[in-house]
């Protein structure tokens, strides 16, 4: 079955960037858009990363069956789909963590700024494409401060001004004011939501360009979730973010683009407002409305 990708299909339409006053100009909506009439803004983004015909397997079992998708720069793309659809495998391919597992293979292409990631040094790639996991995983024996610096140190990088870097990273995740007086406490002394933000700070300390998030809020309460979502909103000003989530409301809240995966295939990829108001594919409609299986 062929992959439907209405973003790719409709191509790049020139126009003012999101967040500008483009909506004030009188422009006829492109025929592929228009769910909300003239209020929709044209697509124009450039892809920070893109997968082209990406296939991934564990042994003989093929998990991804040829995924082609652009991931737009400084935007949030949410990957949704039922368990086992390949969404986590997909983002683990984006920083070559998939191939670390014994028996795991992948074919196809993934580009970062137009360069094939499979020709890059994987350690360097992972500095540029960081990852935040489902369960907050601060290093248990390390302090809050050392956790922030852990990625850099494990990579053998010398940090010129570690205190400034720690403060900057913790401020970016809005954790600084909460922990500045106990920076040497164990990372595990923090609440679950704080731990997850600490993990995001640890990723940010590496100064990545792309942040992959694998269900970052599934272990958090609604308040902690709201803080992480607010953080995602802030971070997309500087980073390209790809988030895997089971929570469709979360995808609707945080993502600019949403991709629906099913059984290893990309069924639909479009602007989030289009996906959640008038998806083009029946399977997307069935999944997001709860008429599945």
């Amino acid at each position: 079955m062929s992959t439907t990708n209405s973003v790719v299909a409709s191509g790049s339409v020139s126009g003012a960037p999101w967040g500008s006053d483009a909506h004030l100009q009188v422009v006829p909506p492109p025929p592929s858009l228009g769910a909300l009439g003239a209020m929709v803004e044209p697509l124009h983004e450039s892809a920070k990363m893109s997968a082209v015909g990406l296939r991934a397997s564990f042994g003989a079992r093929e998990i991804l069956k040829g995924i082609s998708i652009p991931l737009y720069e400084k935007h949030v793309t949410a990957i949704i789909g039922p368990s086992g659809c390949g969404k986590s495998t997909f983002i683990r391919c984006l920083n070559r963590m998939h191939e670390v597992v014994s028996g795991a293979t992948s074919v196809g292409q993934v580009h970062l700024d137009g360069q094939d990631i499979f020709s890059m040094d994987p350690v360097r790639l992972r500095r540029r494409v960081g990852m935040v996991f489902q369960k907050p995983n601060p290093f248990p024996t390390m302090s809050i401060r050392d956790n922030v610096l852990a990625g850099l140190r494990l990579n053998g990088l010398k940090v010129a001004e570690p205190d400034a870097l720690v403060e900057r990273a913790l401020r970016q995740v809005a954790l600084w004011d909460e922990v500045k007086d106990g920076i040497h406490r164990s990372g595990l002394s923090l609440s679950g939501g704080q731990q997850q933000r600490l993990c995001i700070a640890r990723t940010l300390a590496m100064e990545p360009e792309v942040i992959l998030m694998d269900e970052p809020c599934s272990a958090l309460d609604p308040i902690a979730t709201a803080r992480v979502e607010e953080l995602i909103h802030e971070l997309k000003k500087d980073y390209t973010i790809v988030i895997v989530t089971h929570n469709m409301q979360q995808a609707a809240r945080v993502a600019d683009y949403t991709a629906f995966f099913y059984m290893g295939e990309l069924i639909e990829h479009d602007r989030t407002d289009v996906i959640f108001t008038r998806p083009a594919q029946q399977r997307t409609e069935d999944y997001i409305t709860g008429r599945f299986g």
């Binding site: 996906i275 108001t277 008038r278 409609e285 409305t289 709860g290």
Partner: protein, 233 residues
């Protein structure tokens, strides 16, 4: 809406909402029918009955609004479900207004009692039937999820606008000829206006049906008639 929800409770809530809206639409259609028949036959008993039925329609509007708000709060509907619920939230207002306008026609009919020989143009009856058919067809399009039919209903609005506009000079001439009939003729204009507004609300309803089915907002967009003027409020 296609396939059934995995969550049967949710499915039952959507079905219940749909049934309440259809009940309200059927009541409103009855009101319009009753108003036209009361005008034609000068049936004051029927006119009074239509007026009294209006409170039931008002209650249904409040009830349906409540169901929609509950659905939004508890289910966070998306895609076709979201379009269904938001469409319902909007069309109940149009349905309720159609009911009010039918009631208004009945009030004029009651005021006409005691003037059996007075001027009652058959043009009004024809216009009323055309508007009534628009309401009926818009509701049918809603039930069937038929965007094509809904579009066809919207196109008929212009004709009624034109009939209403053409009615004015006729009445003006009558007023000049028989100034003593002024009150009576004003009531005729009032009925013509009510019919024209019923057609406008049926058009709104039809346009929302297109949105519900296709996710495309066709209000204030003249899809096939660029020369069509904006409906006068």
């Amino acid at each position: 809406m296609g396939r059934m929800h995995t969550d049967r409770e949710y499915e039952a809530e959507l079905t219940a909402l749909r049934e309440r809206v259809l009940l309200m639409a059927a009541r409103v259609e009855e009101q319009v029918n009753g108003a036209l028949r009361a005008y034609q036959t000068q049936d004051s008993v029927l006119a009074e009955r239509v007026r009294q039925a209006d409170s039931q329609v008002d209650q249904l509007e409040v009830e349906i609004d409540g169901l929609c708000v509950q659905m939004l709060a508890r289910r966070q509907p998306v895609a076709s479900d979201l379009r269904f619920v938001t469409t319902i939230l909007k069309i109940v207002t149009d349905l309720e207004r159609i009911g009010d306008l039918a009631t208004s026609i009945c009030s004029r009919v009651l005021e006409l009692q005691g003037t059996p020989g007075a001027y009652r143009p058959s043009a009004l009856q024809d216009m009323g039937e055309a508007a009534r058919n628009m309401v009926r067809d818009a509701v049918d399009a809603l039930v069937a999820g038929d965007a094509r039919k809904a579009r066809e209903v919207s196109r008929r609005d212009q004709l009624i606008d034109e009939q209403h506009a053409a009615f004015f000079p006729i009445i003006a001439r009558q007023m000049e000829a028989t100034p003593s009939d002024f009150d009576h003729l004003m009531r005729m204009i009032s009925i013509s206006k009510a019919i024209e507004r019923i057609a406008d609300h049926a058009t709104n309803l039809a346009e929302m049906v297109v949105f519900m089915v296709e996710g495309r907002d066709v209000r204030h967009v003249h899809e096939d008639k660029p020369e069509r003027k904006q409906r006068a409020e």
